[in-house]
Symmetry: D2
Subunit: 282 residues, 4 copies
């Protein structure tokens, strides 16, 4: 997802330096005029503000704090904006390490997947250094359609988690409806259409419903990430907030993973409610 | 809900005759020019098409098939459109009785509550006699924004049930998110705003979220009806379709009922996830 | 299950008259000295007390109240003891019909399946006419190891439902433990043994655990009956008592049914937690 | 729980040296003839085999690996048996540290609470060094009624977790049954009695049922530990094993904690199913 975000910045006339473990992945950006540096550290030292977009907490930590990591190139006056989705603990570790260099840190997980990234319609859930937030606001507005400043580091991650939790439960509820409708003799496509007319219409339903009916799950948001983020609902555990539907939904994401669907779109969770039946053919 | 629907028909220039157990409830419509008849039977005999909107299956059956019920005034050439939400069995019984008079029957439960009814923005989920459907289409278009013809009697009811089931689970998932966000130190109003920007944005969330945060539940769709319609998810039972999140959600609606919230808006189900905590003050 | 119960009565020296839709099923009992009558009505008129054991509410109602049903042979002074497991409504209908003849009625669903029936170790959950209860107590003691008198008709059924509900959830919980242990590299047979040593040891676990590990489900209590009785947990619905684990368990029994396991032992519900995984082989 | 275990060893004629953060807690044991040492390290160096029983993973780690921890007193030929219930990771860390001294390590979490500890009826779920297992077997037999050797370190912890998970779900299922019975007009004490007669009879039900009916929860196994161990059901998460009833039960333990019942017996979880109703009195 980093690529479309970067190319939007380039198109907006920003002067960009990029790095990726696999240099070839940067070629499209280089052809658009981006410079390349051989390590996160060198990117950080050559730029005022560094954006990091990694797939998981481990890589996010490595790229920021590891050998030749961004931190090594950071210094007072510079800013580090981590737009990856990581857990609370990792985000705080990264923040500590970055600020220890005198640089300022902003946690900024995004809500939205591939398509919104390409269209510059992401939503930034930021937390951390407020002046850095104000400083990068124009850049966030190039890559996204809205941005929230949520206070202390950790709040961006928490907000992302809450929204993902609700999204995960909604997807399962929607899947239950599609399958039930089919079993009672209705056309699930009509269900998608009826829902699209009413109070529960959500873009996600209109976008994924038709392909779900066709049992196609082109990956926009990988199922394994949804499942992980729910597991991440450790917050609910620690604050003792009951989340019965999210808990029930998570059981289904586990099933979907065991069905080998971890890398497909999280809408593939519908197979977990079907598989049971298909199994009767064993 | 019958009143706003009828007044929209009157405003559209239709010639209307009304009946209600409590005559006074008809006064506003009479002042708009509606006629009054002393029984469903007399309404039916004096009109080409009769619309019935009742609060529950029992009354829907009584008004159609009871003493002085609509059936007694029905005859070949006439049409009976039941826009109440009833269970499958009741709807079929009513259909049988009505058609036994030579009249035609259309089941047409609506999706949408008070406000959409007033604004003529209801969604009609019809099933039964297709020629009657075509005949009343212009009237449905006066009262609603869209209409679906779903085939045999029972399919309208089934569709309504599926949509309500998904809606009920979504509401609980949303409530879980709002309460979790608060417990981890986020502003639930911001959660509502963030959600309104993204893929899971649904009119229901923007409409009810802000009042849910204030613990206010002005009744649009009574909680007891949501709970009933889920209980009605007997279909899922009979076709053996697992609906884990709907089942978990239903447990919460039961709790909400036991909290005395049956007549408040179904968004009051959030109290069922809170009550537990408030109880700690015992 | 009626056969072993009857043969225990015969062995105890009781003078028995039997009837079954399929006469041949009575042969073993006839060879033990039982008489045969050609209808429930004739059995009832020729005996002081009539015991009825049917597979489902429909047959229980038919045999008691249908054409040539027991009621037709009932009269003041006679007693009717229904040991079938039926729903509250059916039981009350049967009771009304029987007592309308002047006879007395006792609802007496049994806890225990085939084996306990053969060994005379059933548990009778009786409700209704207390004097009839006292009168048949010696007979119940021949067929069972304990008996409870629970008051008004309906309470026996309710007690049976509650016990079955707990049993159904326990079986799923046990199945979850067996499968989880296997996945984390433990021997599920050892889990069965460890459990048999501790506070949660229940005869059901020791009895069914070993065969569950072998994926064998010799039918003692058919899965479809367990699922039905949970569905019967309509009581929980009507009194708004949350039963989250029973609700979650019921979703699994539905899955098991859709896997074609309705007629196997209810312990086959473990397949519903496995099927998901097996499905990954699709 | 360490005290009753130690006193059983003393009564059996073993030569015991003890340590506790709070020396006074050791007085009863000293009066029975136990020696006292001022640190885990000194206990370890003065004994052939050291048993550790701590309340949580943190203390278990501290006592074994911290300053003046047991490891400092360990050496080849000595044995360390950790009978605390800790998570997989902690147990392995302790094992590594202990064995690094040349000593051998046995993980041996116990199944059973206060009473069984006093009566020498604990169940040991051991894993790790098999020769140490054989060496301490006679001591385990003094403190417990049965012992299992489960292989590599981690398996004892895993077994404990699985058993606790099943126990936690069973307790909630039982609580659902007790409350439902009361709501439908049955005497919950009779439910306890009926259950005690049948296939689902478990010592836990007979032991805790009567006090649960009286809403009394004398702490044998603290609710917070049950909830924690479920949270620990991370294994189910990592191996993607669906555990729907355990997940639903866990939501209730969270509620119970938020009701301030963390330190009462885990049977207090029944309040989580009640509280909801009590709240209606707000």
């Amino acid at each position: 997802m980093g690529a479309p975000m970067a190319s939007n910045l380039i198109k907006a006339g920003c002067d960009i330096t990029v790095w990726n473990r696999t240099k070839s992945k940067c070629d499209p950006l280089l052809s658009l005029g981006a410079k390349f540096e051989s390590s996160p550290a060198r990117v950080a030292s050559s730029c005022d503000v560094t954006f990091a977009m990694l797939a998981d907490p481990e890589s996010a930590f490595e790229v920021a704090c590891g050998a030749n990591g961004a931190a090594e190139g950071m210094a007072a006056g510079k800013g580090y904006v981590d737009v990856s989705t990581v857990d609370d603990a990792t985000s705080k570790l990264i923040g500590k390490r970055i600020t220890s260099t005198g640089a300022s840190f902003l946690e900024a997980p995004v809500s939205g997947s591939k398509k919104p990234a390409e269209d510059g319609l992401l939503i930034f859930l930021t937390a951390g250094d407020e002046s850095l937030y104000k400083r990068v606001a124009p850049l966030l507005d190039v890559m996204g359609k809205s941005r929230f400043y949520l206070g202390d580091v950790g709040n961006g991650t928490a907000m992302k988690l809450v929204v993902n939790m609700v999204m995960g439960s909604m997807m399962v509820s929607f899947a239950e409806g599609l399958l039930l409708s089919e079993k009672v003799g209705l056309d699930p496509n009509t269900v998608v259409e009826v829902i699209s007319q009413g109070a529960i219409n959500a873009p996600m339903f209109s976008l994924k419903g038709p392909s779900m009916v066709k049992a196609a799950y082109p990956t926009a948001f990988p199922l394994k990430h949804q499942q992980k983020s729910k597991a991440g609902a450790g917050p609910a555990e620690s604050v003792s907030q009951p989340i019965p539907t999210a808990a029930a939904a998570n059981e289904l994401y586990k099933v979907a993973k065991s069905l080998g669907l971890a890398d497909q779109d999280f809408s593939a969770v519908i197979e977990a409610l079907k598989a049971k039946v298909q199994s009767s053919q064993h």
